[in-house]
């Protein structure tokens, strides 16, 4: 029997579909980004505008804001598909579920992670980040935000069937985000002292590879539970 479409076709069809839907609802892209920018601007107002203080807390503030923005935007990852039933069609399709899930997560990262990485240097300027930390900031965000999307998707997949999933979601995935946060901010701190930070980057990279391999299966299993 003919399989219909190849894995590659299925992957890119789903990716394209998710990107198209998001581009037609531009709020989905801009709201998390605005949230990210707003949270970062709250800190200078809250802790005072002294450049030394700000440059000390800048890596942490940017990363925590990125974490929260990613978590908030994740909530919509499966929601619409779950409500209109296309998620179940995806589960029933002959294509392997982890592959489909990976396409959705990749689409989500392109829509929320990439804009966040692009806007981060601007916010770093506002927070007086040390000049030699920009490379580390961009590198950790580039490696770290996909990990956030992948890990977060597990939590979203577990809570998608629940009515009050929002608060629960933060309880489920923020503990899993902590290692990424620790290594990312310590890499940026090390770079501001002109110390080598490739070790930190290597660990974040290892997290990315590990979650890229294992998370799609966990997300798939969670979706099967949620749509039962």
């Amino acid at each position: 029997m003919k399989k219909g479409i190849s894995f590659r076709q299925a992957f890119f069809t789903l990716l394209k579909r998710d990107l198209q839907i998001a581009i037609r609802h531009k709020g989905d892209i801009f709201n998390p980004l605005l949230f990210f920018i707003l949270v970062v601007t709250l800190f200078p107002l809250g802790i005072g505008p002294e450049p030394q203080v700000l440059s000390r807390v800048a890596p942490g503030v940017i990363w925590v804001a990125a974490l929260l923005a990613s978590m908030l935007s994740l909530e919509r990852l499966f929601k619409a598909d779950f409500v209109d039933g296309s998620l179940e069609q995806m589960l029933l399709s002959p294509q392997p579920l982890p592959l489909m899930v990976l396409a959705k997560v990749l689409a989500h990262w392109i829509l929320t992670g990439v804009p966040l990485i692009l806007v981060a240097p601007l916010l770093a300027v506002l927070l007086h980040l040390d000049d030699n930390s920009y490379g580390a900031l961009m590198a950790t965000l580039a490696l770290g935000t996909p990990v956030l999307s992948l890990l977060g998707a597990i939590g979203v997949a577990l809570t998608v069937g629940l009515h009050k999933g929002g608060v629960l979601l933060s309880l489920l995935i923020l503990p899993l985000y902590i290692p990424v946060l620790i290594f990312a901010t310590s890499a940026i701190d090390a770079s501001s002292l002109n110390l080598p930070y490739s070790g930190h980057l290597a660990i974040i990279g290892a997290m990315l590879v590990g979650s890229l391999i294992l998370a799609p299966f966990a997300i798939g299993a969670s979706l099967r539970v949620s749509t039962n």
Binding site: I154, G155, L158, T159, L162, K164, L168, L171, L172, L174, P175, L176, I178, P179, I182, A218, A221, S222, V225, S226, N228
Partner: protein, 248 residues
Amino acid sequence: MWKWLHSYADPERAYNLSGKLLPWFAMLATALVGIGSVWGLVFAPVDYQMGDSYRIIFIHVPAASMSMAAYMAMATSAFIGLVWQIKSADWAAAAIAPIGAVITLIALITGATWGKPMWGTWWVWDARLTAELVLLFLYLGIISLYASFEDKVLAARAAGILAIVGVINIPIIKYSVEWWSSLHQPSTIRITEKSAMPTEMLYPLLINILGFGMMIGAITLIRFRAEILARNGMRPWVRELAKAEGVK
């Protein structure tokens, strides 16, 4: 080879078996925790450097090591429940979770009271302490995820997946004192070589660790039996049991 085990997955047999095991666990737990605590808190020699406040370790170390052991037990049961679809394993995991959370909280609180006289501070943001705090959050997340599903079969599966994902934290806690330069001292108990601790202090500590394990076992059995009854309320054997107990 493992066929004989399968018959214990039956709720009624699991209930009866855990009922038989419970007194043994309870007795051993009372005896060991009693002996270990009294020996450790009263008779063990005073530490020449840390004075009497070092005695917190007789509670702290067992609680901390059992918080990880309980997590592994929960994740293993969840894995068995998820892979072989054995409901009793799911119930066991659900029974362990709150106990693990409480024991983790005990480890954190006793650790803080140890930190105050020794390090001069209740809390430091150090690798092991943070990882133990994350463990508490994981427990709480699993408990609330389990609680938020109406259908407990689904709830157990969802919480089980989360428990298995969270296992990644356990080696981080265990080796945090070796991987990072930490304020928390490295472990002083060695299994294969001589421990870096005098035997008069080591024995009560080991007894307490074993006792805490037995205590968690006993409380888990109580909760496991309750969980079985709660999930099988409609089964005839539960109804007969209720009738025998005098429930209308």
